[in-house]
């Protein structure tokens, strides 16, 4: 670990990221508007996956409550800006982040005391609790969800109305807001991981007990990461409302968290950018599956199953240059093949 974990290890990696960003920046002008919308959805998914990756990759915490903070962010827009009375985004975004962060603070304070499986189950239950509140009561439109007024893109008195654009470009504003937010999310999280705070999280991921013995109040750092991740999940949820103008309780369901985790696994567990790659791959996979069959979830399920079994470091971690691994896999049929190098479980598990 010569430089910070989870980030590109050389200028080549940063260049690749910059090229990716450039492609996204000009994409809307070259593809049909359907794909502009689809890419926006993928970027929102990427923001959610990025935020949970701060926990998973940064601190080794697997939370199943994360989708709920995303949903809380989306629902905050609904409560602030219900159908018919739109509010400016400069108001709704900070409030959505604040509310999600507060929820994360409460849930985190209660669940951070637990570790490993307990943490998983407790976060799962908390996520379901938030889901239940919006699902079983009439507070937010109940089971069916509700429409809301998309926040207005206004700043310093200048208001931008998407309707002023030609029809083919009306999806552009949401696209570019999402693009900007994705870039900012990545850069902020990358900065956090590079900072001393990120180093402490990395230490906790490797060996929490040792960090405690060194004098780190590990619960405090984990809670900090949990809240920051919750804030960014809320921002992603806000973007969902801004893009779709609709919320329903499924946004808070634990499946959302599981999907975000899938994206991380697909993209690459040891790289922050893996969350973005995974989100795009997952969205593309769903789209490709839909064009082939109406069994989208089956295809996704099978691909994920395969990914979990063989692709332990995700797309970013494939080492095609090492064909010996393929041979090894063929020679020992009792074991599942493994396409990527992985650290011994021992070190990763010292936390338990």
């Amino acid at each position: 670990m010569s430089s910070s974990h989870m980030l590109p290890q050389s200028w080549i990696g940063w260049c690749a990221l910059a090229v990716g960003a450039l492609v996204l920046a000009i994409l809307p002008f070259y593809v049909p508007s359907y794909y502009v919308g689809l890419t926006t959805v993928a970027m929102i998914a990427a923001m959610l996956a990025l935020s949970v990756h701060l926990l998973v990759g940064g601190a080794g915490m697997v939370s199943l409550c994360h989708g709920a903070f995303y949903g809380v962010g989306a629902y905050t827009v609904f409560f602030l800006s219900p159908e018919g009375s739109p509010q400016p985004a400069w108001l709704t975004l900070p409030v959505a982040m604040l509310v999600s962060g507060l929820c994360a603070l409460v849930v985190g304070a209660l669940s951070i005391r637990t570790k490993g499986f307990f943490f998983l189950m407790v976060t799962l239950a908390f996520g379901q609790m938030l889901f239940t509140v919006l699902h079983d009561t009439k507070l937010g439109g109940g089971t069916d969800g509700a429409y809301l007024a998309k926040p207005i893109l206004s700043l310093f008195g200048y208001t931008f109305d998407p309707m002023s654009l030609p029809r083919s470009q009306r999806s552009f504003p949401a696209y570019y807001v999402a693009f900007g937010q994705l870039v900012v999310t990545y850069l902020v999280l990358a900065f956090l991981l590079r900072s001393l705070f990120g180093r402490v999280l990395h230490g906790i991921k490797l060996n929490e007990h040792r960090m405690e013995a060194l004098g780190y109040n590990t619960g405090f750092y984990k809670l900090g990461a949990f809240v920051i991740a919750g804030v960014f999940a809320g921002a992603a949820g806000h973007m969902w409302s801004l893009q779709s103008g609709f919320v329903n309780p499924e946004l808070l369901a634990w499946h959302k968290s599981a999907e975000a985790l899938l994206m991380i696994l697909l993209g690459g567990i040891n790289s922050l950018a893996g969350a973005i790659i995974g989100a795009f791959a997952f969205t593309a996979l769903g789209e490709a599956a839909l064009s082939l069959t109406d069994r989208k979830l089956l295809v996704q399920g099978l691909v994920v199953l395969l990914a979990v079994i063989v692709l332990r470091h995700g797309i970013a971690g494939i080492r095609l240059r090492d064909p010996r691994r393929w041979l090894q896999a063929l020679r020992s049929p009792g074991k599942w093949p493994n396409l990527s190098v992985r650290k011994p479980v021992q070190e990763a598990r010292q936390n338990d």
């Binding site: 010569s2 900065f191 590079r194 900072s195 001393l196 705070f197 180093r199 040792r210 013995a213 060194l214």
Partner: protein, 252 residues
């Protein structure tokens, strides 16, 4: 007041289920010098260190640091109060370099608040602290080596460097020589002798030769209880110790 103990226990016990691992131990650690705790396997030595460093809470009794009751404080507070420890099983971050390991230790008690969000490059003072600790244990020429590929002895030295980076007054060493060769043991003995001149060092060790050679004081634990405390000479002559613990093994 020179001999005022820095760390004391008063009638401390620790039970696991129905079993006493440590039982009614009253103990004092002087502010300077090397105090060895010996005892047969299962005598409760490791639990004793865990109690002194807050990893384990006492079931009964008090632990006093500079006269203040610290029993029940969470483990992470102890380094901030000047008490650090090493572990019986080597417990370092194997994927980090030597320097990164020690700097992480140095950061624990020095960086708070908004400084958390500065990058590594801007924190030169941490690097200096880390370098001093690395130098003191004699790993200066390996400071950029990945810790996982160090020799076993060097990993143990690194572990001590990590405790030093906190700049503690009390150092608790849980079997620092485990698995070390003769040369490495001698170097470690010299290092500990040096540390004991300006720290309170508590050492748990199996190697009797080594203990009698370096310790200023010794305590013998048997079945969780203190059998005897005194200078190595007193312990060597103590009949109860000879009968109960040292037995027929040759005592020098």
């Amino acid at each position: 007041m020179i001999d005022q103990p820095i760390l004391q226990t008063e009638d401390v016990s620790r039970r696991f289920g129905g079993l006493f691992a440590v039982r009614n131990v009253t103990f004092a650690l002087a502010a300077r010098g090397l105090h060895a705790v010996i005892g047969p396997n299962g005598a409760g030595k490791s639990t004793f260190v865990n109690l002194l460093s807050g990893q384990v809470q006492p079931s009964a009794g008090r632990i006093l640091l500079r006269g203040q009751d610290v029993s029940g404080l969470p483990a992470w507070r102890f380094p901030h109060l000047g008490v650090t420890r090493s572990f019986q099983r080597t417990n370092i971050f194997k994927s980090f370099t030597v320097h990164e390991n020690v700097r992480l230790a140095a950061q624990a008690t020095r960086v708070f608040g908004k400084d958390m969000f500065s990058t590594v490059r801007r924190t030169a003072h941490l690097n200096d602290v880390a370098d001093r600790a690395i130098e003191r244990v004699g790993l200066a020429d390996q400071r950029q080596t990945i810790a996982g590929i160090l020799s076993h002895g060097a990993q143990r030295q690194l572990e001590i460097a990590m405790t030093l980076a906190i700049e503690p007054q009390v150092i608790l060493l849980d079997e620092p020589l485990a698995g070390m060769g003769q040369d490495e043991s001698e170097r470690m003995a010299a290092l500990m002798g040096g540390l004991a001149t300006d720290h309170a060092v508590l050492l748990i060790e199996h190697d009797m030769d080594f203990v009698f050679q370096v310790a200023d004081r010794m305590t013998v634990l048997v079945e969780g209880k203190i059998l005897a405390t005194g200078t190595p000479e007193e312990i060597r002559r103590n009949a109860a110790v000879q009968a109960a613990y040292l037995g027929d093994s040759d005592v020098h």
